[in-house]
Symmetry: C2
Subunit: 324 residues, 2 copies
């Protein structure tokens, strides 16, 4: 068994083991990352030289649209092409257990004995409809462990879709006939984040209409010359139909990313967002610390009672945070 690291120098050892393909070391790193362990900065520092190369593919869509099945088949396809594959499946937390509640992850056991695949279900930890804050770091762990393809699967509700898109090089949005019409997709702003639409369950009634509506939506969308035009692919994932078309569309998008320099630009934007998010997390914790000193509580009571406005209160908080 891998000994839990207690000091930063153990982290180096753990990362070395993960790079050698020790699945327990990878699992241990993912757990430390998911728990927001104080060793996170040391882990990130040890992983940094090995990151930035993997292809990160986001996969999102409404519940029931076939995300897990599609992910499963994509893993199979990328494995067949000789890639090492990581999967992060981010499930909304159950209010009862704080963990993932659905059992469909079990299907992933197809790959349980394949040493070239790492699969991790992550809870979204109350960050409702959003990815766990640990997700970008978990992607780094999988990259560090030698995965050159990382699939991030998340339920497509609101914020999660945007977050998965900001994390991924290529974002797949799954639709299915009868799961809500194109106007709902527009309402959710999905056009902005999808690089490839997959019309799954394409053997069902209404699939042609969903396909046409999606194409129509894309045609209506404004995009500058040279911008990527979202692809639409039909699939019946549970019969392994259309998977090679998805892989081809992802490859086409990747080629476009590289050709236009957008690949690097996206990665830099992503890094900037990640840095900002970590810095804001530190600042948020400092503001929270003011609550323990009852400074924030007193200001909040004054605002709630109408004795103070929230902007003046925020100024007071900022002054406390770093006195001039």
């Amino acid at each position: 068994m891998t000994v839990p690291p207690r000091r930063s120098r153990d982290v180096g050892q753990l990362v070395a083991l993960a790079r050698d393909g020790d699945p327990r070391a990878v699992a241990r790193l993912l757990t430390l990352v998911e728990n927001g362990d104080p060793l996170l900065p040391a882990i990130a520092a040890a992983l940094a030289p090995y990151t930035g190369q993997a292809q990160v593919i986001g996969l999102t869509g409404s519940p029931g649209v076939g995300k897990s099945t599609t992910t499963n088949e994509l893993v199979r396809a990328y494995r067949a092409a000789g890639h090492r594959v990581g999967v992060l499946a981010v499930d909304p937390s159950s209010p009862f257990t704080g963990g993932a509640i659905l059992g469909d992850r079990v299907r992933m056991q197809d790959h349980a004995t394949d040493a070239g695949v790492y699969i991790r279900s992550m809870s979204s930890r109350g960050h409702l409809g959003g990815l766990s804050a640990a997700t970008p770091q978990a992607v780094r762990v999988l990259e560090g462990a030698g995965c050159d393809v990382v699939l991030v699967e998340t339920v497509g509700v609101g914020q999660a879709e945007v977050e998965v898109a900001s994390l991924a090089d290529t974002t797949l949005v799954l639709l299915a006939p009868g799961m809500g019409d194109a106007i709902q997709a527009v309402k959710a702003g999905i056009l902005e984040i999808a690089d490839v639409f997959v019309i799954n369950k394409a053997d069902r009634d209404g699939a042609d209409a969903t396909y046409r509506d999606t194409q129509g939506m894309i045609a209506l969308g404004e995009r500058a010359a040279g911008q990527w035009r979202p692809q639409v692919v039909r699939a019946v994932a549970f019969r392994n139909e259309g998977i090679e078309d998805i892989v081809a569309a992802v490859a086409k998008h990747r080629a476009w990313l590289v050709e236009t320099g957008e690949a690097t630009a996206r990665r830099e934007r992503r890094a900037a967002a990640e840095i900002e998010s970590i810095a804001l997390g530190v600042l948020r914790a400092r503001i929270g610390g003011l609550g323990e000193a009852s400074v924030l509580d007193a200001l909040a009571a004054a605002v709630a009672a109408g004795r103070l406005d929230p902007y003046a209160a925020a100024d007071a908080v900022l002054e406390r945070l770093h006195p001039a």
Copy 2:
């Protein structure tokens, strides 16, 4: 026509007009708030003495569940009871126009000539599935304008539900038969935010099953002694059936809030969150400013290339933000 305020002292005038019931002054204040005008702190300061009293009711649910119709009927009911009512309808932005795309807000024109009702559609401004950051301030404007009931209606996708619940005294979650089963509600963590479930379209097939599933979910949920047990109400909003039951359930919840002291506690938590959010907004802008000075950009490029880890980069950002 109301002259747009240019200076802080005009804000006082505008707030005074709004308090006198001038709808153009209210509309002008809402626009300033929605645009994040630099006068926002002055507006908040002028409104502060008149805030903290209104009953804020959140209303959320999946698209097509009947939110607008229910809101419309609730406005009618609260008006009949002599209340001044404000409505904020937060729609996800269209990727095409940046505005709300659905026309069902038109139904609200029922109340267009009623001086006791203010209605405002707010875009969610790219904050996908979330409320506009301006929403808490917009509630303050409506409170300042004398509304003692403010309804905040939002599409129930992910983050928006949590946000509307954190804003509201009482949160209504609308369900309808055939709109997805109870397990989806559990997945979305909806049990944690609903004070009252409304089974709308209760005349349809499957309504009894939806009612039973919802009750079953509530029965399974753990809650401490004295905690609120979510109510379940049936309605057919478009025929104005069950509206009085919704109003009664909201009143019961309000009585519980006041009795337990939770009303004040919620308002103080809300104020604390609002202060924190404003303070973090200021800090985020300062970090963004580092991007313009290309400090953040350089750090992001280093992280993207694997030369630096994001925690070390965040430390560098924080040092720049307020040098020790």
